[in-house]
């Protein structure tokens, strides 16, 4: 076998994890994230760790650009653009808070995206990325991207877009990014109460599939890099799992703050 494309790579070369224990000002998020992304080959336009940051260009020409803005000491705003300059999180910006007394913030960065997790009492998680569409040719017919719709919306800062299926994507023939809660590809039976484990208790881990949420014909765009989904009963916020990803190879994944959809939660690669 081989490690699947979306999980391939080495720690600190292709993906990184960082945790900062007490963040009292989002400027720390900006500088921390900058350090993580630059270490993975992203470029920092400011040169002083304030972004915007541009991912390494994939062989297909795809890259993603992240801009962070300090709204206040406890609120940060994110803007994501694709390689064509289209606004991915098509809501002017999306926002995220930390506690005034300080929050732990966890960063999961890879060459094609990232998750930033504010470990508040009610966690607030934001992320974005280029989508892996292997085994098909990357970027054909076009590269696909996603970016969180939340956790907080721009208009009033309300915390309403925490669910794992609240993200922006581009529809077939779309000219601007949209959000639809059916864009997260679930695997579920219709039975009301399920636990995604075998009878012996081994948890099932699945890719985070991104699909088209509106077009009834149904197109699978692909999956997020270095990200998996896990049963929500076992996958409490911050829980870590060692997951076999190839014969003799494991990866450690940590549950992030996106909230549950249909008994699934999201975990991102830590090591």
């Amino acid at each position: 076998m081989a490690v699947p494309t979306f999980l391939a790579g080495a720690l600190n070369t292709d993906f990184r994890y960082k945790s900062t224990a007490v963040v009292v000002d989002v400027n720390t998020i900006i500088s921390d994230l900058s350090g993580e992304l630059v270490a993975l080959g992203w470029t920092d336009a400011s040169g002083v760790g304030t972004g915007p940051w541009t991912s390494p260009a994939h062989a297909s020409g795809a890259f993603i650009v992240i801009t962070a803005t300090r709204i206040s000491a406890t609120r940060i705003a994110w803007i994501v653009k694709d390689h064509r300059g289209l606004l991915v999180n098509n809501d002017t910006d999306t926002r995220q808070d930390i506690e005034a007394v300080g929050s732990e913030v966890r960063y999961y960065a890879n060459k094609f995206g990232c998750w930033v997790d504010s470990a508040r009492v009610t966690p607030e998680c934001w992320g974005c990325g280029i989508i892996d569409n292997s085994p098909e040719t990357f970027g054909v017919p076009r590269s696909s991207y996603m970016a969180s719709k939340g956790p907080r919306r721009n208009s009033d800062g309300s915390l309403i877009n925490q669910a794992l299926n609240a993200f922006y994507y581009l529809e077939v023939d779309g000219t601007s990014y949209i959000s639809a809660n059916s864009a997260f590809g679930q695997r579920n039976p219709a039975i009301a109460t399920t636990v995604h484990s075998t009878f012996t208790g081994a948890l099932l881990f699945c890719p985070f599939d991104v699909q088209y949420g509106v077009t009834a014909l149904g197109f699978l765009q692909g999956r997020l890099f270095q990200t998996l989904t896990v049963d929500s009963t076992a996958g409490t916020f911050g829980a870590e799992f060692t997951v076999p990803i190839d014969t003799g190879v494991t990866g450690v994944f940590k549950v992030i703050g996106l909230t549950t959809i249909s008994t699934w939660r999201v975990c991102a690669r830590k090591s």
Binding site: M1, P189, I191, T198, F199, T200, G218, F219, Q221, I261
Partner: protein, 268 residues
């Protein structure tokens, strides 16, 4: 890579056109499992065919009853003798039909193209529990058919299967579907237009569980395929590097809006 376990078992196939009596289906099934399948099935009691007992002692048996020229009943039992389901397949009296019989050491699938009326089927088998041990649990026999023995179309949609839930046998929508939160026809194609095929996986309740279902396994030699494919069409699917499998699409007796409403079973 390697061919997945659920596609590594035995498989046999025959298509019989011009059927006007369900006895022909019974006879052809008999011939397939007794004279062509390797490992072969057994017939300890006339009309009751038992699948080969595998290394973990797993098997099932099926008993056919020609209820009438046009009605075929099949009773499926698990390795403990529990009747998992007794279901009926009917053929019309107004025209001849084509039956496709898929068998193997871990599965059977009788799919009938009825022409003037909706397709009919009888299917069942043993689940592949890999990568866990194949004897990790005992709830591994599943089955279903188009009609009840009272000729009612209930629990016949592709998402339904009969299995042992805790200590009770019943049908429920236990087949894993792949879809979005509110729209069902999603993820069936890549954005380049290639079809996406999925294993047919089932959930059921372990012994002692009164409400919670868990992943029970996947059906051997079967895949879920996007809707829009005609019953009987053949599709060639990569199943390993340099290896393909040929599958035949089976009919759906119940209209279903879900994009993965069809089964395809291996023939080559």
């Amino acid at each position: 890579m390697a061919v997945p376990t659920f596609l590594g078992s035995s498989y046999y196939y025959i298509e019989i056109p011009g059927i006007s009596d369900v006895q022909t289906i019974i006879d052809e099934f008999d011939d397939q499992v007794m004279l062509h399948n390797v490992p072969a099935w057994t017939e300890a009691v006339p009309g009751t065919f038992a699948s080969p007992v595998d290394a973990d002692g797993r098997f099932f048996d099926v008993t056919f009853t020609r209820t009438s020229q046009y009605k075929l009943d099949l009773a499926l039992r698990d390795q403990l003798g529990n009747t998992i389901c007794t279901r009926r397949l009917t053929i019309p009296s107004t025209n001849k039909v084509t039956a496709r019989i898929f068998t193997g050491q871990y599965h059977y699938y009788i799919d009938v193209e009825n022409a003037s009326v909706a397709p009919g089927y009888l299917h069942g088998g043993i689940l592949d529990l890999s990568p866990e041990a194949q004897n990790a649990h005992t709830h591994f026999v599943y089955g279903n058919g188009s009609f009840t023995t009272a000729d009612a179309i209930t629990s016949a949609a592709w998402t339904n299967e009969f299995m042992m839930d805790n200590a009770t046998i019943g049908a429920t929508q236990r087949v894993v579907t792949w879809k979005g939160a509110s729209i069902v026809s999603i993820g069936n194609y890549t954005i380049n237009g290639a079809r996406v095929y999925r294993p047919k996986e089932l959930y059921c309740r372990p012994t002692g569980e009164t409400s919670t279902s868990k992943w029970a396994g996947r059906c051997y030699q079967q895949l879920l395929v996007p809707s829009g494919l005609a019953q009987g069409c053949k599709i060639v699917i990569p199943i390993d590097i340099g290896t393909t499998g040929t599958f035949v699409v089976c009919g759906a007796p119940v209209s279903d809006t879900d994009g993965y409403k069809l089964h395809a079973v291996r023939i080559a």
